[in-house]
Symmetry: C2
């Protein structure tokens, strides 16, 4: 990315395009923050309450998948989806135990695959949809939900940068 | 905040209003993350390379003031401004030495005062301004600049939450 501009993007309605610019920029910085990490570095636990960088990457993808279901499919995740994503969504002990031993490519491929699905679905929706209350959570609209996906990712990217600077 | 919706906001042009919603939500979460911290907690250094939570709060306000100058005043910060903000902007050793001994109120009042100035200026601009390249940095537009202010804040809020959970 050479220019840093939030603008409408061809293929999306204008406000969705601006949001896609934010999501894309956030993802770019996340991938830059983990570039070149080894499986041992991705598994490293700074202390006994820390999440590994790998678990934080899995969390970022799981949050995005969850919001795909809530906003595009307009339903709650199923029990089997909730169970499958639980270690990544909840992090903590479960994440520390179950999310380990993976190459960086496993995490980045999941992030890329998930994002491709998000962008394909956003291209099928419009700004009126983005602004309307979510059918299953009318306290939210889709614009907040997708801003929140970026915001949660950026929050954890801040932690990833801090943790990476202290890897052994 | 009871409803989580990004929407146009009266008093701002539509896209600026949506951006204000993001800035406001991010600030709300930052203030929640530091609520009740004592001066000793705000000064605590997790390790010899960490920034204190107080220094991170000062950084968040300084970044916002810097982007006010770049986007609203269309100029680079002056040498005296750069010198005054340097500990907060650069963090590191200078921040560790110079940003200490303050009550939470000092940090939050600076954040509130800075944000009031941002919102007053955004109310005087429109969506065409938001999208146009910055005169002093045409590689950026004001929308990216103000998204970046929120993004940098959220990044450090992620670190603040991590640090707060480990205060002695």
């Amino acid at each position: 990315m050479t220019a840093y501009r939030i603008l409408p993007i061809p293929g999306y309605t204008p406000t969705i395009g601006r949001l896609v610019g934010m999501l894309t920029y956030a993802r770019h910085t996340t991938l830059a923050a983990v570039n070149g990490l080894t499986p041992a570095q991705l598994d490293h636990l700074h202390d006994d309450r820390s999440n590994s960088i790998g678990a934080l990457l899995a969390h970022i993808a799981a949050v995005e998948r969850g919001y795909q279901i809530v906003t595009f499919e307009e339903r709650e995740p199923s029990p089997s989806e909730t169970a499958a994503w639980s270690p990544a969504l909840k992090l903590g002990d479960e994440g520390r135990q179950k999310i380990r031993g993976n190459d960086l490519a496993l995490y980045t491929e999941e992030l890329i695959r998930t994002r491709q699905a998000t962008l394909a679905a956003l291209a099928q929706h419009d700004d009126a949809w983005l602004e309307a209350p979510l059918t299953i959570a009318p306290n939210l609209n889709a614009h907040w939900a997708w801003f929140h996906v970026a915001e949660d990712e950026i929050n954890h990217r801040g932690q990833i940068r801090w943790l990476r600077a202290r890897l052994p």
